[in-house]
């Protein structure tokens, strides 16, 4: 039953391909108000053209501060939002080409999501067994009570709970245990691709370690592919093969994890790495970088980071830099391209 497909080494197509994905939200005041006050429509560009690919069995993380659009990307990829522009392909199939529910179901089964808040994402009136069995029933994967019960028991064991827990309700569990239940539910349709939106942000560190270890174990065992969303760079580093750093709806740097931490290129990546308090840094003096994230409704011209960037030049204020490939790293920065940045 589980997908025991060993990660294949051949140069196949990535499992997930996202191209020029964008999503706008209309945050205008009501029409009458606009007419009376002479205000214009206000459009929030939550995601403004994001492209990435995730090879099978690997983890891509998106990291950034609140409002950078990382959660919107996650929701677009699983289909909770419809994209304004761009495409999402799972194993070559464009999700937009699937217009009926029946056509979507086989692809939908292959991707699942784990949410941040384990208190909000489980229905308090359902027994844990029913919560976990919901995708099995929805996709009609198994028929018959006994079969489903056995599968739920197996899933609970896989996430470190007991098959007997299927009879209980969510409120009987701690935050970490609830997140295990969320993971069991996500795994129940035998997905290949999991979108994890801040799965440990609501948990204490010792519990976070348990969940991160569990997710890594499950990935190794079932060859899962993860899109991992987090604001915590240390967690991201621990989990990822590749990392995309987002700022105001765009990816500003996309690089293999080790490379990103050893040689960050984009000034914003450098700022983030510099800003994070870390255990290794006892007594360290940091150089805090000024400024705050501007509003995505009215983003700065050119490179949206230029008002906070110590290396901004005239070109940065006028022209938005595209994501350019430099070896294994992709970075969107004029200063990097022109070689203006210090080592």
């Amino acid at each position: 039953m589980p997908l025991d497909a060993a990660p294949t080494r051949e140069a196949e197509r990535p499992l997930v391909e996202v191209e020029d994905l964008a999503r706008d939200f209309d945050v205008s005041k009501p029409l009458l108000f606009r007419l009376l006050q002479g205000e214009r429509r206000r459009i929030l560009h939550a995601v403004a053209g994001v492209s990435f690919a995730i090879p099978k069995g690997t983890t891509l993380s998106l990291v950034g501060e609140s409002g950078c659009g990382k959660t919107t990307v996650a929701r677009l990829v699983v289909g909770l939002y419809a994209p304004t522009r761009g495409s999402i392909r799972i194993d070559g199939t464009d999700l937009a080409s699937l217009t009926t529910r029946a056509a979507q179901a086989p692809v939908r089964r292959r991707l699942q999501m784990i949410f941040q808040d384990p208190y909000a994402s489980l229905n308090p009136r359902w027994r844990v067994g029913d919560i976990i069995a919901e995708p099995i029933r929805a996709f009609g994967l198994l028929r018959g009570r006994a079969e489903i019960e056995a599968r739920v028991g197996e899933l609970l064991r896989q996430v470190g709970l007991s098959p007997k827990d299927a009879e209980k309700f969510p409120h009987e569990f701690s935050g970490g245990q609830r997140q295990r239940i969320s993971i069991a539910r996500a795994l129940s349709s035998n997905p290949e691709f999991l979108v994890c939106d801040e799965p440990t942000s609501a948990l204490d560190v010792s519990v976070q370690a348990q969940i991160l270890n569990l997710m890594k174990d499950l990935q190794a065992r079932f060859g899962l592919t993860y899109l991992f969303i987090s604001h915590n760079l240390a967690v991201v580093r621990h989990m990822s093969d590749r990392i995309g750093v987002m700022y105001l709806g765009r990816i500003v740097e996309l690089a293999p994890g080790e490379t990103l931490f050893a040689r960050p290129l984009h000034p914003y990546t450098r700022l983030l790495l510099e800003a994070i308090p870390d255990l290794e840094m006892t007594g360290r003096q940091r150089t805090p970088v000024g400024g705050e994230v501007p509003s995505p409704i009215d983003p700065p011209s050119g490179c949206t980071f230029h008002p906070r960037c110590p290396f901004a030049a005239a070109r940065c204020r006028a022209e938005a830099p595209p994501l350019r490939r430099r070896g294994e790293v992709e970075v969107a920065c004029h200063a990097v391209e022109e070689g203006r940045l210090p080592g």
Binding site: V205, S206, V207, A209, L271, L272, P277
Partner: protein, 328 residues
């Protein structure tokens, strides 16, 4: 004499199903100008310890035992009116959410002026001039123009700067900062921590910094107390506690934090979770999760005792050392 001394503090919450002990026999001291970090996971009692010191525990919670001594004077028995004066004048407070500290109906200038006039008895003109200086000090751009703005007109990071100004403007000797940066984004966190550090150093203010973020503690505190299930598990110099933890809980906690410095394949994991306050195990509260547990841990509660380093830990592994010292 330490600036603040907490002795055998005990905080209880009576409930229908019996009394919960949220803080159980906690003792520590803070020296003048020192930054003491208090860390722990949720429910460890760290915030309640801070709230108990300034007597801001929500009823029905109550201080059920112990003493709080500030500059040689007991403050846990002061009448409420006198305690109001201690809060603000002698102990400032910074909370996680700046919106709970700031009054949305008053301009930030008015809140600063009122605080300074209440505690320092300044004239209107002098108080306003100082308020502008404080806002400049905490890095509010165009402070003289923005002093009459209201809290909602500031961003989260800027609001927290205003809260810091408000906590420090009556020149207290001690500031209790409860998760001051948790609600902020990382790049803003760094600014706020640096600001708090600089201002407290400049004014010689001691800080009790309560947070769950070991990174913030590692970088800011001089000493750190690690709390578990309402008790202090370990207390010592920050570098010692982070780099060579003595208590098995602290050791596990440090190992479970992913680090930017090095990548490990698996994080160290402490199985299980912190016990609920309704069923704290007998003996050492950590014993069911401890890898080095032995018989004594299950029956007898360990007090903080000296270890082989400068830290003290509440762990029977170090019992021999205590006995040696007692004999000497």
């Amino acid at each position: 004499m330490p600036l603040l001394e907490v002795r055998n503090l005990r905080v209880e919450f009576p409930t229908r199903r019996g009394t919960l002990t949220a803080v159980d026999d906690v003792s520590f001291a803070i020296e003048e100008g020192e930054v003491l970090g208090v860390v722990g996971e949720s429910g460890a009692g760290k915030s309640i310890t801070g709230a108990a010191i300034i007597r801001l525990i929500e009823p029905p919670g109550r201080i059920a035992g112990g003493e709080v001594i500030l500059s040689g004077r007991r403050i846990d028995t002061l009448p409420a009116e006198e305690m109001r004066h201690v809060r603000g004048r002698q102990i400032g407070a910074i909370f996680q959410d700046p919106l709970t500290t700031l009054n949305p109906l008053y301009s930030i200038g008015r809140q600063l002026v009122e605080t300074m006039q209440t505690h320092l008895g300044l004239s209107d003109r002098e108080a306003r001039a100082r308020a502008v200086r404080w806002l400049e000090d905490v890095g509010i751009p165009a402070a003289a123009q923005r002093i009459d703005a209201y809290p909602h007109q500031f961003s989260g990071g800027m609001r927290q700067r205003v809260v810091i100004a408000l906590a420090l403007c009556a020149e207290p000797r001690l500031v209790i900062a409860d998760e001051p940066t948790t609600a902020l984004d990382v790049s803003i966190q760094a600014q706020v921590i640096a600001l708090l550090k600089r201002l407290c150093r400049d004014h010689g203010t001691a800080v009790m910094l309560v947070t769950h973020d070991m990174g913030v503690i590692a970088e800011t505190a001089d000493r750190v107390a690690v709390m578990y299930a309402g008790r202090i598990a370990e207390i010592g110099p920050v570098r010692e506690v982070v780099k060579s933890a003595r208590h098995p809980y602290t050791e596990g906690l440090m190992g479970s934090i992913p680090s930017l410095g090095q990548k490990v394949e698996r994080l160290r994991q402490i199985d299980g979770a912190m016990p609920r306050l309704t069923d704290i195990p007998r003996g050492c509260a950590f014993n069911p999760r401890c890898a080095r547990v032995f018989d004594r841990c299950r029956v007898e509660r360990p007090e903080l005792m000296p270890t082989d380093g400068p830290s003290r830990a509440a762990c029977w592994l170090y019992a021999g050392r205590g006995a040696e010292r007692d004999a000497a």
